[in-house]
């Protein structure tokens, strides 16, 4: 059985520290997610995070608890937690990290909405992850 979790959040560190803060997150996640058979993607745009993870329910739960109490971000808003039939992602990676307000707007558009009403926003955010994870077409 598989569980998934997708959320958006706001960074608590200044933009100038982004590289120094995200490097260790990437390192831990690469290793731990692989160990836990968790796949998905993380996006960091300007001042906001969005992340999708999926895997064995206990593993997703365990990571969720760690991530939810991590002081490097706040205002976590769950956009989706479902039981997908099969995996949506083949591995885990940072799909995007940069200054694009276009990407940040897509993240912010789902923040502050009650989870039940984020259907369209959730689909759009999931598409954002997918587009960033697609094999390069050009």
């Amino acid at each position: 059985m598989l569980a998934s979790w997708m959320y958006v959040s706001r960074a608590t560190f200044p933009a100038s520290d982004a590289n120094a803060v995200i490097e260790p997150i990437a390192r831990v996640s690469m290793r731990r997610n692989a160990d836990l058979e968790v796949t998905g993607a993380l996006i960091f745009a300007v001042q906001h995070f969005a992340q999708y993870i999926e895997g064995p329910p206990a593993a997703v739960d365990f990571l969720r608890t760690a991530i939810e109490r991590d002081g490097r971000h706040r205002s976590l808003h769950t956009v989706l937690d479902d039981r997908p039939e099969c995996r949506r992602f083949g591995g885990w990676r940072i799909a995007y990290r940069g200054l694009a307000t276009y990407v940040e707007k897509t993240i912010v558009s789902v923040q502050g909405q009650p989870t039940a009403e984020t259907g369209d926003a959730a689909a759009r955010l999931l598409r954002l992850f997918r587009e960033f994870s697609l094999p390069d077409a050009r």
Partner: protein, 203 residues
């Protein structure tokens, strides 16, 4: 310092209004009617943010991305602007090095916010390049031996271990060390270490 903003758009009225907007915010605008005009001049232009319209007749914005030499890419952060944006196109553009993507019609403040953020980032990048070349110039004055001594000391090794590693006497290491500091124009090892780091000697 001049903060340039380059505008590439085939529509004269948009060139004029965008130039006016960025100028009123303190930037130095320069407009081009086509991507190929910009590309031709790019090697001689000061670094700046490039506002690029994607649907232009002669050469579309995507073609410019492929033709802009990688060495120039970092000096001209690109904002792609389009009237027909969709998520897939935006992500494709960003994956090809575009720094931000803006859909028309947009608010003036949205554009100015993006330009300000990218210029901040460009400032950081330019000062990094400048520090690196200054550090390279200074460390370039060192003899081979002094450079070796600098690298080992910068890695935190005491004179004794440096002497051992280079098969020299401690006294000789001390002499190279003093000479090295003098050539770099610094008084302390931490200052010299910063230069070694900036010059990429410790990578």
């Amino acid at each position: 310092m001049i903060r340039s903003v380059y505008i590439v758009d085939d529509d004269a009225s948009i060139r004029r209004s965008t130039a006016f907007l960025v100028k009123s915010a303190g930037y130095q605008p320069r407009a081009f009617t086509s991507a190929s005009d910009f590309l031709r001049e790019a090697p001689t232009l000061l670094p700046g943010v490039l506002l690029l319209d994607v649907r232009m007749p002669e050469m579309d914005g995507f073609a410019l991305l492929d033709d802009l030499p990688a060495s120039l890419g970092a000096l001209f952060p690109i904002v792609m602007i389009t009237g027909h944006g969709d998520l897939a196109t935006a992500v494709q553009a960003i994956r090809h090095g575009v720094r931000d993507f803006l859909e028309k019609p947009y608010e003036d403040d949205d554009l100015l916010g993006i330009v300000a953020r990218l210029w901040d980032d460009l400032d950081g990048h330019l000062s990094h390049i400048e520090q690196r070349s200054a550090a390279l110039r200074l460390t370039g004055k060192l003899t081979e031996r002094e450079r070796e001594v600098l690298i080992l000391l910068a890695q935190g090794r005491p004179n004794k271990l440096v002497a051992h590693a280079l098969d020299l006497s401690i006294r000789t290491v001390e002499m190279h060390r003093a000479q090295m500091l003098e050539r770099l124009g610094v008084r302390t090892l931490p200052e010299a270490t910063r230069l070694a780091l900036a010059a990429g000697l410790l990578e």
